[in-house]
């Protein structure tokens, strides 16, 4: 079916998951993602699936651990404070190499923070988040259509790598309504490739063990190296970014998700004012599109990284650029969204003041 439907971002995530063969959802209420569990509580019974409201986020992620271990396509969703609680389970899921999808509709923190859109969980999402040497593959959609597409892809990537995949949105993307098309036919659950490692009962085969304990040094290092090889493979096969008008750019904006939408308007404004502005929009935050950025940096063009935080992704941009060109930062927090005008003003100052401006400085207001 490829009719266009008008949906909220959160609902698009739910529908896309069901179409991707997800038949289990474990969650716990938290704003601003409640439409996902609510959608699943309505839709999953219609397709013979299971919706369970767990007693906490810790319980929900451990139910995911069990279901993923049994070979099913399974999802959970939450928002920042709840994702922090899930980190314990995510570390185990990564260690046991199980595929699952985790959605984080980010809100501002630390602590209880607020419920407004934010991008302040970038570090937590891309650098591991829980304990131990592990990574999640992180997808950052920027529209309701992409919320659906990234969710569908998340299930494929999770199975491909036997790794947890996070869809990192925010309150604005979850609440906004836009048209969505589900162009791919729904996945038939019974036709998904078998998972011979799953704990489904050892009938006619040697027992499988889902495990993250390795007491021998050699064994643990072997796991860590295997994980590292997997993350390297992600970097070579699954980096995604949108690169817009960067060839002749005087300045390149780097932004993801909701922030990239505002940057687009800023770039249009700038172009009509005679400024040539490019945009790099990472879609995978891990693996990060470092090579794209380092290639562009060779021309010495300055970068302006814009985030709904006080500077997190900017660190990865700087690592990628590695001093080859100036990198500046602009961000707002507390639920404020930088306006195109603010970004334009910042771009002008980047161009005027390429050498003196401190890198990564907090904007003066």
């Amino acid at each position: 079916m490829s009719e266009r439907l008008l949906m909220k971002g959160n609902e698009a995530v739910g529908e896309a998951a069901i179409r991707a063969g997800c038949r289990l959802f474990f969650g716990y209420p938290i704003t601003p993602q409640n439409e996902i569990p609510e959608y699943m509580s309505r839709r999953l019974p219609e397709v013979g699936g299971v919706f369970l409201q767990a007693e906490s986020e810790i319980a929900a992620i451990n139910m995911v651990y069990g279901a993923a271990g049994a070979g099913a396509r399974v999802m959970t969703s939450s928002s920042s404070p709840g994702i922090s609680l899930k980190m314990e389970g995510i570390s185990y899921i990564a260690g046991a190499e199980l595929p699952c999808v985790i959605v984080n509709m980010v809100r501002g923190g630390p602590g209880l923070g607020g419920i407004q859109p934010a991008q302040s969980d970038y570090f937590q999402a891309t650098k591991g988040g829980g304990h131990g040497d592990y990574r999640m593959l992180v997808l950052a959609p920027a529209s309701v259509q992409e919320m659906a597409d990234c969710t569908a892809d998340a299930f494929e990537l999770a199975d491909k790598y036997r790794n947890p995949v996070m869809v990192l949105g925010d309150g604005a993307l979850g609440q906004m309504m836009e048209p969505v098309t589900f162009s791919k036919p729904p996945v038939s659950v019974s036709e998904l490739p078998p998972k011979p490692w799953a704990t489904t009962g050892a009938r006619g085969r040697a027992p499988n063990i889902v495990n993250s304990l390795h007491l021998e040094n050699e064994e643990l290092e072997k796991l860590n190296l295997r994980l590292e090889a997997k993350y390297r493979r992600m970097k070579s096969e699954d980096v995604r970014a949108e690169v817009i008008d960067c060839d002749d750019a005087d300045v390149i904006l780097v932004a993801y998700g909701t922030m990239s939408r505002v940057c687009r308007s800023a770039a249009n404004m700038a172009r009509s004012a005679g400024l040539r502005v490019g945009i790099v929009r990472p879609i995978t935050l891990f693996p990060f599109p470092s090579e794209i950025l380092s290639e562009l940096a060779k021309k010495g063009v300055p970068f302006l990284v814009v985030e709904l935080s006080l500077g997190q992704m900017v660190e990865d941009v700087k690592l990628a650029v590695n001093g080859a060109s100036p990198v500046q930062f602009y961000g707002r927090t507390g639920g404020f969204l930088p306006t195109p005008k603010e970004i334009l003003a910042r771009m002008e100052s980047v161009l005027k003041d390429r050498s003196q401006a401190p890198c990564g400085a907090v904007p003066e207001r």
């Binding site: 609510e38 509580s41 906490s56 209880l112």
Partner: protein, 252 residues
């Protein structure tokens, strides 16, 4: 009505007047429980020796409700927070104020463990049969067949279990020294008696108290005043009997 009293100088001393009128919806049970608590704090004169801690939920809207030192905690973690506080200052009287989601779902292990240890703290829980602050999802206390935003077909006991009987279960885990009871916002004088015993059990007997109150949430129930009252007094009371479950001998 409460506000008229206040204008005549009858507002409880324990109320922080700058934050009144409070933030709860009209007809909300939280305001009634907290009014009762304020009266009892006045009666016991513990304004300078009490610390109030609230969970996340609509209970959170009380973080600046009282003229008392107050702590806002993480969802479900209010009980361990007041236990930590009490370990530093055993002379203080501490109150953990939580919702049914905070107390019976995400924070249940803390509630039960605290009861088992007989921690000298007072836990007050508002049972409104759902997660109010997040928009009315199922809670452990949701009644059989009750529709909520995550039980669109009505709560199924087969799939999600029966409504959680808090005082009954906590009293099974608690020691003989504990005070455990269930009251209702529709019985205000009794509510105050229960709160007073719950605080005295901490102050005089250094023991654990847990009290649940049937509480109203007209916003998420989508009820008019008369139906709100009826839901508490009939539907809820049928499932949740009003009762003192544990009363230490020297407290009654």
């Amino acid at each position: 009505m409460i506000f008229e009293l206040a204008d005549k100088g009858l507002r409880p001393k324990a109320w922080r007047s700058e934050t009144k009128p409070h933030r709860f919806c009209p007809g909300c049970g939280h305001g009634i429980i907290l009014k009762g608590l304020a009266d009892v704090i006045d009666e016991l004169g513990i304004h300078e020796l009490g610390v109030f801690a609230c969970d996340i939920g609509c209970s959170l809207l009380s973080w600046d409700f009282f003229n008392l030192d107050s702590v806002q905690t993480h969802h479900g973690r209010t009980v361990p927070v007041v236990v930590g506080l009490k370990k530093v200052r055993p002379d203080l009287t501490v109150v953990a104020y939580v919702g049914d989601g905070g107390g019976y779902s995400i924070g249940l292990q803390h509630l039960i463990s605290s009861a088992v240890r007989n921690d000298p703290v007072t836990v007050v829980l508002a049972n409104n049969t759902l997660y109010a602050m997040t928009g009315g999802q199922m809670a452990p206390t949701t009644l059989s067949g009750q529709k909520t935003s995550t039980t669109p077909y009505g709560r199924s006991i087969e799939e999600t279990g029966p409504p959680f009987m808090g005082p009954e279960i906590v009293s099974a885990a608690a020691s003989d020294s504990a005070y455990v009871a269930r009251g209702s916002v529709t019985r205000f004088p009794e509510l105050k008696q229960i709160l007073k015993k719950a605080l005295l059990n901490q102050m005089l007997r250094s023991s654990f108290s847990f009290v649940e109150f049937l509480s109203s949430c007209p916003t998420n129930w989508r009820t008019k005043p008369a139906d709100t009252l009826k839901f508490v007094n009939e539907d809820m009371a049928r499932t949740f009997p009003l009762k003192e479950h544990r009363v230490p001998k020297d407290l009654s």
